[in-house]
Amino acid sequence: MQNYQIFSAGIAIIFFVTAFILVRRDNILPGSAIRWTLLSVLILILGVFPQLSDIAAKLLGISYPPILPVLFACIILLLKALLNDIERTKDRAKIERLVQRVAMLEQKIDSATKYSNKV
């Protein structure tokens, strides 16, 4: 095993173990847990066998192979950021509508109490 291979494998193993522990502790939602586990396995494979990116780069006609995993990581991160924004928008609308609903319910309770006090 070459030095660079040990280095990349080390990083990949740390990431894999961290992701696995987080999944085990239920710190990640089940849906995301599958994604993170798959991703950490992929990183583990690429980390242990970095020459795989050389083969893929040759197949795709890319002259600088190390850029391939970097590009892959960038696209995944961008996609994730985009999905997170969509999720955040949905959550915000949900929270704001709930706040509105709570206000309406509070008013209902208030008027019911006023009415029962009068009676």
Partner: protein, 235 residues
Amino acid sequence: MKQAIVIPAFNEEKTICKVIESVRPFSDFDIIVVDDGSADSTSSLVKQFEHVILLPLATNLGAWKAMQTGIRFCYENDYQRVITFDADGQHLPDSILALTSFQKASNSDVVIGSCTQRGSVARHIAWRLFRKLSGVKIMDITSGLRLYNRAAMSVLSTREATLLEYQDVGVLLMLKNFGLSFDEVKVEMEPRQDGISRIFHSWWAVAYYMTHTSLLCISKARKNSELQCQSSLNR
């Protein structure tokens, strides 16, 4: 006919009582005040008025979403007509009559109380730009004094309307895309008493508002929406 005046209020302890008193003579209307998470005594002041319906928001949601709370409340409680009225004393109670009588005559879904004399030259240029971009043919696109009928209330109570940030162009554009009709009637307005605009409090806020609204106009100007599709299907 059940009808209401909705007054969204955020830290308006100086003016809210005066505004409520001013609309009190309109006994056909229920008065609904939405307290937008005020940090001052707005809420407790409103509670002193027995006949006023108070909707207290747990946190500050901004002017449009506070107004939407009032509109949603009216929609769910079978109100037929709602008038939105500012809590800062800018709107005059006489305008309410002008809006209702105009709506009775024109039967439009939305009637806007327009006062184009207010606003600086820069603001007029911005209004013109947004009119062009959005295709909304209303002179005073930022006026908060509006009358909505039940159809408009149903559109404005949706989740999509919750995603809007300001009550001006976005709301009008949405109503237009849903095929609703609007008209405007000239009214008088008082200058703002505290002199500070809620939207334009800094240059950064102005830049954000301009970019946000331009993007909104460009992305939604040609959008067709559900109701329009439904009405064309029913024809």
